[in-house]
Symmetry: C2
């Protein structure tokens, strides 16, 4: 390149940069105008007590934007992201005008914090809030962790997990699920199923994207999407329909910016197990639309009818998340895992490397032993089935409640017959007057009439808790 | 509200929504035009082999946008975020045109993965890459963890940490740092210092914000900012100036969207300890500009001259992060902590609750015992000082290298005299020909002539490693 060529390039660059600066300023001007319009909409809504969220309007905007992107040859992801930023700002403005109507949700974690605070003062509570089994972790696991500790397995490991655990997981998937295809670069050992789920969401969805979730469900899905800036498209199922979502509704929920669908059966909090046929249909719908199926199979060992797993017939894009927490009663060990195509897995690993480095090696050694402890899993599962039977019967005797008997998992999710029942208020009253903690249904979706009981307590505690619930309701 | 009022509100809303949709489409049109300009800039740069990143141009754009926001009454955070989205997209476009020139960085974690892979094949390496001491964790810690395990401290705890550890941390800060103001709602027990740092960054900065970092430094700061979508404004220090950043340069680096500055002394990888006077000046500058000081004090117990800590005189906004990893040689326990004003701490806790739930209780019980194990910390610190002395002397004897003697931490960071030295290539050659692993300087900033040796090995291993480095260099 000659020096006159260089000069010409520099001057060309200068012109283009000025144009970029001008265009940027024009964009900001329009953004300001849009913000002004949002404010005026807020005023009208505020006067008319109209709701801030309007899915249809949002969907129409998204369609508009994506169509424009296509027409103009602009990256649709970029368009969707900018729209998400604008919509979020509009809602913030409107919410501020309508006033502080947003009540903080009482999720299981919020309830746990509250209950722990009360227990500090010495008061005894019946804790039916926390989603963890009361079983003891396998003795072999304790021994393995302790031995590893005294053998100084106390240094960093690679992020993905120690080879022994990855290999044990491969064997486990082969024996337990007849799935023999897992490779080590598809597995990741995570600090709990929670991190597996978070990194799955963060890997498949960005700001401006959306993910289909079926409600009621574990609040961490929506919280994770919120944190990422992605939108949860919720499919609301009801007790009256037996908590069954139809594949048609899943299909109808898919938007042009939808990247994934989350399935989790047996379900938290309903104990629902989806029909295998529906599960497969949904997986096919995901394939047809290029979506990732995130299947959270943490309760798979607490299933009292045939429970479909994503391993039976993997979709093109998938992330399986699971954990040692529930089946082996190892909640406090914080160890779980994920399985995904190697490339997806590599991207998930980045979040873990950035935030955590690795799961403690001595805990990973314990997890290896857990995979060999099948008797404990059978025992835990059997006991939980007895509790589901007994607790369902007891809850059904309370005239004010109705429920669909859980087919799995470790919860009961009754619904009050009173259409105006406020489960958040009820939970607080139950805590204060009866010393029993439950999780209000609003923590799992739009279910003010429902509440969740965790069955992670001995039957006599569960019975005592249910009795007190009955007393307060009558 | 009468029904005709309602009708009027609905029709007003309808009009406003149409205007919003029109404005949105106009924004997208301009974004597409801007993307087109970015592409043309990419073409010119590609032809002229000009660099893609241009801080001055970016700064000018930011100033423009913020000025426009002010003039139009638009939220500056929103303007900065939209600009960040646009700039990121432009760079992506230009990078794709200029071609795959970006080499993946060899960070310490990347090197660890590589070395572990080689070791699997049975080959013995001299591992000077991983930043972890080789000392054994205190016996009292092992016993406490094991006892807690067999006492079934194996269930969920509240996210912040068990009261016993929070209380022990308060006592520790009072005794060790004479800081008596810490309240329990200011502390968080984290899975390692890494998570404390990530949640600090995610709490103070969002997409479109910037944070000042002083280079060379631990790669996790920049990686975390990247993950969040915030920009790292780097202050490059050099060996020639003794790795000392001047407060004036820090002040000059602050942009209108700057939210925080990260300090970390003793520094990784240089072992630099900032002068107390400079440290205080920088803290004051942060206060003057409303910035949060994130002080990562993980190496504070490895300091061989007076090391300033943020606890001496807290700025208005601060986050202290630290860990049990280095001082007690507990890397593989993954336990650290943060201290911040209660409100900041509450926001940091959200990330932990969402992703992790809590640190295993049995590990937290071990951490309580660690805080009582002061002899081990003194021992580790003393040994490390000897290694710094010996290794510095040995490195100085290699004619091709020069270095500033570390004043703390657990590393040496020599620089090759050859101005064209390529430490990434050297590190790979050293691994292949000599079986020694080091971390190239490019992992810590723009330092291709430097590399980091971790002193977390017995002196004879260190000496053998340095000898082999000398052999390859001569």
């Amino acid at each position: 390149m000659t020096s006159s060529d260089m000069e010409q390039a520099e001057s060309e660059l200068q012109d283009l940069r000025e144009e970029v600066a001008e265009t940027t300023k024009e964009i900001i001007k329009l953004v300001a105008r849009r913000a002004e319009l949002a404010k005026r909409i807020g005023e009208v809504k505020s006067k008319g007590s109209l709701p801030i969220d309007n899915e249809k309007v949002e969907d129409a905007l998204l369609e508009d934007v994506l169509r424009e992107c296509k027409r103009l040859g602009l990256d649709q992801q970029l368009g969707a992201k900018i729209l998400a930023t604008l919509v979020k700002d509009s809602k913030k403005t409107q919410r501020a005008q309508v006033g502080g109507k947003v009540q903080p949700l009482i999720t299981p974690m919020v309830m746990m914090a509250k209950a722990t605070e009360i227990e500090k003062s010495g008061k005894k509570l019946i804790r039916l809030d926390v989603g963890e089994p009361d079983f003891r972790p396998p003795k072999a696991v304790l021994d393995a962790v302790s031995n590893a500790l005294y053998s100084y397995k106390t240094y960093y490991t690679v992020g993905r997990g120690i080879p022994e655990l990855l290999s044990a997981l491969k064997t486990y998937l082969a024996v337990r699920y007849n799935y023999r295809e897992a490779a080590e670069n598809q597995l990741i050992v995570t600090p709990g199923g929670r991190f597996a789920v978070y990194s799955a969401l963060a890997t498949v969805a960005s700001e401006g994207d959306s993910v289909v979730v079926i409600e009621p469900n574990w609040p961490a899905y929506k919280e994770g999407l919120d944190y990422i800036g992605a939108r949860a498209i919720t499919i609301r199922t009801t007790m009256e329909e037996g908590w069954e979502p139809s594949p048609e509704r899943v299909k109808a929920a898919i938007r042009p910016n939808t990247k994934a669908i989350i399935l989790s059966y047996p379900a938290n909090p309903t104990g629902k197990i989806m029909e295998r046929g529906s599960f497969r249909e949904i997986v096919e719908i995901a394939d047809d639309h290029g979506l990732t199926v995130i299947s959270d199979e943490i309760y798979n060992d607490y299933a009292y009818k045939g429970c479909p797993t994503i391993l039976e017939k993997l979709p093109k894009r998938y992330i399986l998340t699971s954990s040692f927490s529930k089946a082996w009663s190892m909640t406090g060990f914080r160890v779980g895992y994920s399985l995904a195509p190697a490339e997806t897995s590599a991207r998930m690993l980045k979040a873990l490397g950035l935030m955590i480095t690795c799961v403690p090696e001595f805990i990973q050694r314990g997890a290896v032993k857990a995979l060999e402890s099948v008797d404990e899993v059978s025992h835990n599962s059997r006991v939980m089935e007895e509790r589901i039977d007994a607790t369902t019967a007891e809850l059904e005797k309370i005239g004010a409640l109705e429920l669909v008997k859980p087919e799995g998992a470790i919860y009961a999710f009754p619904q009050a017959k009173d259409p105006n029942f406020d489960s958040a208020a009820f939970a607080m009253e139950l805590l204060e007057k009866k010393g029993v903690t439950i999780s209000p249904g609003t923590g799992f979706g739009d279910y003010p009439r429902c509440f969740r009981l965790s069955l992670g307590q001995p039957q006599e505690t569960l019975s005592a808790g249910v009795r007190k619930i009955g007393e307060l309701l009558s």
